[in-house]
């Protein structure tokens, strides 16, 4: 075992979590490497310091009495004072149109059913962290590592041709917008979809910063917005994804007829929403999306 390998297992060694054989290898290495031995000491010292700092001691006696009393009538025993969090949970959002008002009423009803899953901000339906949002971020990160190698050699480079070819092969209305005016160049396209879900994936890169933007098209994916249903053809879902590298990605997704599209990249939500609006206006003529165009831009941070 060398130092690099030991660094990987130092914590597990200090915690007694290694298998016997690995433990022996680690001990052999430590006998020869004082620096790695200090790493183990450091981990132990950190643990001690954390325990000293955050250990508040035993629960107060009154809490034990409260819990025991609650066991006698568990269905009724909720804390007497609702937390400030519960009181502030519901937020109203306003739409500028009558459609928006109907939507607000519908969404208010669904809020009662899914208070833990949805928080509303003006003009945008926000979905708290969920597995589909996570999957979009994971796929973006995995493909971003490939960079230009992400491009499937069998596909053309012309965006309209990509859209046509992928659309025919995948039976989807593949989104392949020209984002040159927004400062993005196509890096590559492939049929990888999202984490095993068939679909198209176009990878763009920012000409100014080199940051990568993913545009996915998959078959309609209701779970992306926690399964809430509304009588709208388009609704935005969004979330944030934090990669283990420390990178943060924003995800903005929407349904359109039989497809679901998702944008993902290390950009602000406002930027992604702006891109979505621009794409829909330029690709299909001046066709404002109900609740998507000006109300969003007016309210986006």
């Amino acid at each position: 075992m060398n130092c690099k390998e030991f660094r990987k297992y130092a914590g597990a060694f200090a915690d007694g979590e290694l298998e016997v054989a690995q433990n022996l290898e680690a001990l052999e290495h430590l006998n020869m490497c004082p620096r790695c031995a200090e790493r183990v000491t450091e981990i132990t010292n950190l643990k001690t310091a954390l325990k000293r700092t955050f250990d508040v001691g035993p629960a107060p006696h009154v809490l034990r009495d409260r819990v025991l009393a609650a066991l006698d009538s568990p269905e009724k025993s909720t804390p007497q004072q609702p937390s400030n969090a519960a009181r502030r949970r519901v937020a109203f959002f306003r739409w500028g149109t009558s459609l928006g008002l109907a939507a607000a009423i519908t969404l208010a009803v669904y809020m009662a059913w899914f208070p833990q899953d949805v928080r509303l901000q003006p003009g945008i339906l926000t979905v708290m962290a969920n597995q589909p949002i996570h999957d979009v971020g994971a796929q973006h990160q995995a493909c971003a590592l490939l960079g230009a190698k992400h491009h499937n050699a069998s596909l053309p480079r012309d965006l309209s041709e990509i859209s046509r070819r992928l659309g025919e092969e995948l039976h989807l209305a593949v989104l392949a917008p020209n984002l040159e005016a927004q400062g993005f160049d196509l890096l590559g396209a492939d049929k990888c979809g999202i984490r095993g879900r068939p679909g198209a994936h176009l990878l763009y890169h920012s000409i100014a910063t080199g940051e990568l933007l993913s545009i996915f098209t998959v078959g309609r994916w209701e779970q992306l917005d926690a399964g809430l249903s509304m009588e709208q053809s388009v609704r935005l879902s969004e979330g944030e994804v934090l990669a283990s590298s420390g990178d943060e990605f924003q995800v903005v997704a929407w349904h359109e007829d039989a497809c679901t599209h998702a944008l993902c990249g290390p950009f602000s939500r406002k930027r992604l929403v702006g891109l979505v609006t621009q794409m829909r206006i330029t690709s299909a003529g001046p066709r404002p999306v109900p609740g998507l165009a000006s109300p969003l831009l007016a309210h986006a941070p």
Partner: protein
């Protein structure tokens, strides 16, 4: 035996089992509730709610080799994160990092270039609180479960509903982030032993 008497008997048995297996962990649940809420009153409410839900779901609980502690803590975390108002949306952690792969990040990274044991651990309590507050919740959870309660990786994985490899990589990341913050404080306040090794 009448139905009512039978129900009472079953209810008593359930309560007795719950008191035997779950109630001994009240201190642990309260301690973790305090670290999550940073407020004793909220922590008491959170703890009570945790045990209430645990009792309601106790019929479905299966006692495993590590007992009821991880199960209770998982309920605690679920209750906390479902009740909590987030002024800023919490991002999802990508849990894809296979423990075997995250070693690649060690090469050439800024994570591990500091000298080990360069912090004076006796005088960092306030700085540690500040550094912990800056951690992402997922990192903060694993580091607290690891340090305060001494849970095994398997138990932490059960509480956090993730793979053991994910626990290991999050622990590694959390420790490095804390160390980086503490070294920053130390450089500002000259409490690092490195400053005196000239």
């Amino acid at each position: 035996m009448s139905t009512t008497a039978g129900d009472n008997s079953a209810g008593s048995a359930k309560r007795a089992r719950f008191e035997q297996h779950a109630l001994p962990h009240l201190d642990i649940v309260y301690r973790m509730a305090c670290t999550l809420t940073d407020d004793e009153v909220e922590a008491e409410d959170l703890s009570q709610e945790t045990f209430t839900r645990a009792f309601n779901g106790f019929d479905r609980f299966e006692l495993r080799e590590y007992g009821a502690r991880p199960w209770l803590l998982r309920i605690l975390y679920n209750v906390f994160y479902s009740q909590r108002v987030r002024h800023r949306r919490e991002p999802t952690l990508l849990d894809d990092v296979d423990f075997d792969h995250f070693a690649d990040e060690l090469d050439g990274g800024a994570w591990d270039t500091d000298t080990p044991n360069s912090i004076n651990w006796d005088n960092v309590d306030e700085e540690l609180k500040g550094a912990m507050a800056n951690l992402q919740p997922a990192h903060r959870s694993v580091i607290l479960l690891w340090s305060i309660e001494g849970l095994s990786y398997k138990e932490i994985a059960h509480v956090c509903d993730c793979a053991i490899g994910t626990v290991m990589s999050r622990l590694y990341r959390a420790r490095q982030l804390l160390k980086r913050e503490l070294l920053g404080y130390a450089r500002d306040r000259r409490i690092s032993t490195e400053r005196f090794d000239r």
